[in-house]
């Protein structure tokens, strides 16, 4: 079944829009495929754009259509996502026009990996996705929720799906923030089969919501045969969510971190959000405690003043002092500040190195007990020192071979 003679338009166009395009599509009874392409890169990509448009229509067995493309330098994965999103408003099909999955996007993430920074990328804005990875965030979030206007939600799903396959994020953990349930469940069809590493589940208020997501993932896996590991990071954004923090944190083995979203939380409380954050102190400490009790990472809210790096640094220090192990970013320049301030301090690193040296020495000497000076060192202390040093290595603060190097 297809809708004839109705023109649909998807994508973005505007003076400031770059790396994107707008597609208008109308299916016809006769007349063949008519392409009207206007592209700022026509001189050097005109032919390949034309071919791509024709290929996508052919793939979906469209024989008669008028396709207008206003292109502002969109990459192929964007153009095909836009055409497909337009087309699926007019036809019913299970077929998907998928870009090749790049080898970099087949990696899995680990439960324990660092999640200091995760960069939010609006799910319908390709220009921000393309270079996100070069800023080296620990994770990138393709956001289908608040960063996408309600009338753009559907087309964003195609773009996010294609981005998960085609955009190189240079080693960042690939995260997607789905919409609030139940709508968010339908988002899963677009991301689960495409190697997403972690799902952010917004406005979470119960373990049951986590279970709903798991059920849907199981259905998709069964249908598609994909087995890729997918972790969860629920976001607590309400008074009720805070009260249910431990229930949610311990709801599933796949929950590896839990974040707090302070804009919605303060709204729910009916108070103003301040930089000092007194109004959210209880919620934040409650969340940290719940996470630690469940053995997962507590993650702080974003800091919204993107021009004030000093205030951000202060904020990160406070956050770290409360026990948080990461924070959201809404601007790439925040990443380095967040990493630097979550990073262990020099004194902490030196102490950790002493502990590990003592531990290694004890091991080679076959001693059962590790001691530093007159102090006995317990296994958890060694483990924490290891964590600190791994972190320092990861951040380039010490060499990977520090142990072999001179003290």
């Amino acid at each position: 079944m297809s809708i004839i003679n109705k023109k649909v338009t998807v994508g973005n166009l505007g003076a400031k829009v770059r790396s994107d395009c707008q597609v208008s599509l109308e299916l016809k009874d006769t007349g063949g495929i008519q392409l009207a392409i206007n592209s700022k890169v026509k001189a050097i990509f005109g032919k390949s754009i034309e071919k791509l448009c024709a290929d996508v229509l052919h793939f979906f067995d469209i024989e008669h259509a008028v396709l207008e493309l206003e292109d502002r330098g969109a990459l192929p994965f964007v153009i095909s996502a836009r055409i497909e999103a337009a087309l699926k408003q007019l036809i019913e099909t299970d077929k998907e026009y998928l870009p090749e999955i790049i080898p970099e996007n087949t990696t899995e993430s680990k439960k324990e990996q660092f999640r200091f920074s995760r960069l939010y990328l609006p799910g319908n804005t390709p220009s921000m996705m393309i270079n996100a990875g070069i800023h080296k965030p620990n994770g990138i979030i393709l956001d289908l929720e608040d960063a996408v206007a309600p009338d753009k939600k559907e087309e964003a799903r195609y773009l996010v799906r294609n981005a998960l396959r085609a955009v190189n994020f240079y080693g960042a953990e690939r995260m997607v923030r789905i919409n609030q349930l139940p709508n968010g469940l339908d988002d899963l069809d677009f991301v689960v089969p495409h190697n997403v590493n972690l799902l952010l589940i917004p406005k979470c208020e119960s373990a049951d919501q986590i279970h709903q997501v798991e059920v849907r993932i199981a259905q998709i896996r069964k249908k598609t045969g994909v087995k890729h590991q997918i972790f969860f990071m629920p976001i607590i954004e309400s008074a009720l969510g805070v009260e249910k923090a431990f229930e949610i944190a311990s709801s599933s083995d796949n929950v590896v971190a839990m974040a707090i979203g302070l804009e919605d939380f303060t709204a729910d409380l009916g108070v103003q959000r301040t930089n000092e954050g007194i109004e959210s102190f209880y919620a934040r400490t409650r969340l940290v405690n719940a996470c630690k009790a469940a053995g997962i990472q507590p993650i702080d809210s974003v800091f919204s003043d993107v021009s004030d790096m000093k205030a951000l640094a202060e904020n990160v220090k406070k956050s770290k002092a409360l026990g948080f192990e990461g924070m959201g970013c809404i601007h790439p320049r925040q990443i380095v500040v967040i990493h630097e301030n979550f990073a262990p301090e020099t004194a902490q690193i030196e102490k950790a190195q002493k502990i590990i040296r003592a531990f290694e020495e004890a091991k080679t000497k076959g001693l059962g007990v590790v001691s530093l000076g007159t102090k006995m060192i317990d296994p958890p202390v060694v483990k924490r020192a290891e964590t600190t040093l791994n972190l320092a290595i990861e951040l380039g603060l010490i060499s990977k071979n520090w142990l072999e190097e001179k003290e």
């Binding site: 890169v41 001189a43 050097i44 990509f45 330098g73 320049r333």
Partner: protein
């Protein structure tokens, strides 16, 4: 493949030393193809203007005439002349348009406009290019003028020169200026002038220096006529024929260039940061070093990162080359730089500093870039950070045309700066979908042998000639790649660019710093 077009304005093409087909004659003037870097040296004597005698000028020193029109008439404006202007007023220039309004009114035809650069505000002149008042522009072309030229609509063939190349062309007689019109923020009736004081302050007038010395007739125009003496006299009244006072020579807020703000783009800031890191790990940043950054947002941001590194190390630079702006002035005032040697002030802070601070020194293309000087400053600069529209796998770079072939930028001091000790181009690997590293650039403006490093957000390519830099950057943790690898990476993301077809009609020549032709720009189809 170039097809022979019967309508082509230029018939004889030869392959120059960098493999480009260039004409041996345009605009009825013989052209010398590029012969390689430092290979061509003209002989003979410098061009000299006519001998003036002071008896022909008012004894009381008052050379004021009532209007620009009267000055142009008295200067003998007629068909076929070369009229020069400077670009210190940038997009706020009100002089050039008036000159050609007057020329049109007087029915004068076939003028050659010889600006040190043109700006979008000069779009007004397209009507005069169309009706024959102006035959051609020899100078940079931005925006609408560039497009007009690219579409083959200009009667004569445009010629683009660097700032230094403009001085060279004047000195060796390649371009004889009939009338120079010099807009000045401050002048006296004798013709002494500077750019320091007044509502149209532009800091200095260095780009008009050659014009004042070599033009047959010189007119100084100001909106701030002061009683003699106007000091300092950046332009000496002894070269000046007529002075004119008018209400406004420039629009102050447009004199400040739009491209001289620190970028807010995170991608560009990353590029700037990587560039500064590269300079740090390779030892370029050391106590007493010198640097120059171009006017683009990325280049400007590099100096901010330089400042951070210098503060951290407790070192300072001996000098920085301007274009100056508030960031450079801050560094001077903070004591991070001993001297700013300035070619143009990009903002009012630059103007203020130049007026107040004896260590903020005004220069000209003569001191900085000129091929016929007995040496110049360019080679003394340790590192220069420049932009480009494209680079090829041999490090040749383009600054004038975009990859669709349209002429959209001037050369400025870019070619001249290539003689610095290390030349670094921080460039995004692709703009939108357009890869910056190509098999072959659309237009060669600078030979790859003079370009040392390309910094992109996805990796840094070092010219294989610079084994010293390759060695020093080896274990720096910076992503060093070959230029071919960078090109492949861009094409993986963007796709492989298709070949563009050009007409074989030549619309502009690109001169090298010595006056030879390094490339020609073809009409776009």
């Amino acid at each position: 493949m170039l097809k022979k077009n019967p309508n082509s304005k230029n018939m004889n093409l030869v392959k120059n030393a960098i493999g480009r087909l260039v004409p041996t004659e345009v605009n009825g003037e013989k052209q010398i193809p590029f012969q390689g870097v430092n290979k061509y040296k003209p002989e003979g004597f410098k061009h000299a203007p006519k001998i003036p005698s002071n008896v022909d000028y008012p004894l009381d020193g008052n050379k004021k005439v009532a209007s620009l029109k009267e000055a142009l008439i008295k200067a003998g404006l007629r068909d076929g002349m070369t009229i020069s202007t400077h670009h210190h007023f940038r997009n706020g220039d009100l002089i050039a348009n008036q000159i050609f309004d007057i020329a049109k009114e007087l029915g004068v035809k076939d003028l050659r406009w010889f600006p040190s650069a043109s700006f979008p505000c000069h779009e007004h002149l397209i009507q005069y290019l169309e009706n024959g008042t102006i035959n051609r522009i020899e100078g940079s072309m931005n925006g609408a003028l560039g497009r007009f030229c690219s579409e083959g609509k200009m009667k004569g063939t445009a010629i683009l020169r660097s700032h230094g190349g403009r001085y060279q062309a004047v000195q060796d007689g390649e371009v004889k200026i009939d009338i120079a019109v010099i807009g000045a923020a401050c002048a006296d009736p004798f013709g002494n002038a500077n750019g320091l004081y007044g509502q149209s302050a532009s800091g200095l007038l260095g780009f008009a220096l050659a014009d004042s010395q070599y033009a047959d007739k010189v007119i100084v125009v100001t909106d701030n006529m002061v009683e003699f003496p106007c000091v300092p006299w950046q332009i000496q009244g002894n070269h000046v024929d007529f002075t004119v006072e008018m209400d406004k020579v420039g629009i102050p807020e447009k004199i400040i260039s739009g491209t001289t703000k620190i970028t807010k783009s995170p991608d560009r800031l990353l590029l700037a940061e990587m560039t500064a890191k590269f300079c740090d790990v390779t030892g370029i940043i050391r106590d007493g070093f010198s640097f120059q950054t171009g006017a683009g947002g990325t280049s400007l941001s590099v100096s901010m990162y330089f400042a951070d590194i210098m503060r951290e190390r407790g070192i300072k630079a001996r000098f920085a080359r301007g274009g100056s702006n508030k960031y450079l002035v801050q560094m001077l005032e903070e004591g991070l730089i001993d001297y700013i040697l300035d070619g143009q002030t990009f903002d009012l802070e630059g103007v203020r500093s130049m007026a107040e601070n004896k260590n903020h020194v005004w220069t000209s293309p003569f001191t900085s870039y000129n091929f016929h000087s007995k040496g110049n400053f360019a080679g003394m600069v340790d590192v220069v950070i420049l932009g480009a529209t494209e680079v090829d796998v041999n490090f040749n770079a383009n600054v004038v045309t975009h990859s669709d072939g349209v002429l959209l930028h001037g050369i400025g001091g870019w070619q001249n700066c290539l003689f610095s000790k290390t030349v670094i181009l921080p460039l995004p690997l692709f703009r939108d979908r357009i890869p910056v590293i190509r098999d072959e650039v659309t237009t060669v403006c600078g030979p790859g042998e003079l370009i040392d490093v390309i910094v992109t957000e996805r990796g840094i390519a070092i010219n294989p000639k610079r084994t010293d830099l390759i060695e020093k950057a080896k274990n720096s943790g910076l992503p060093i790649k070959t230029i071919q690898e960078l090109k492949d990476e861009a094409e993986k993301i963007c796709g492989k660019p298709e070949k563009i077809d050009f007409s074989d009609e030549i619309v502009a020549l690109i001169k090298w710093v010595d006056g030879t032709v390094i490339d020609a720009v073809r009409k776009v189809m």
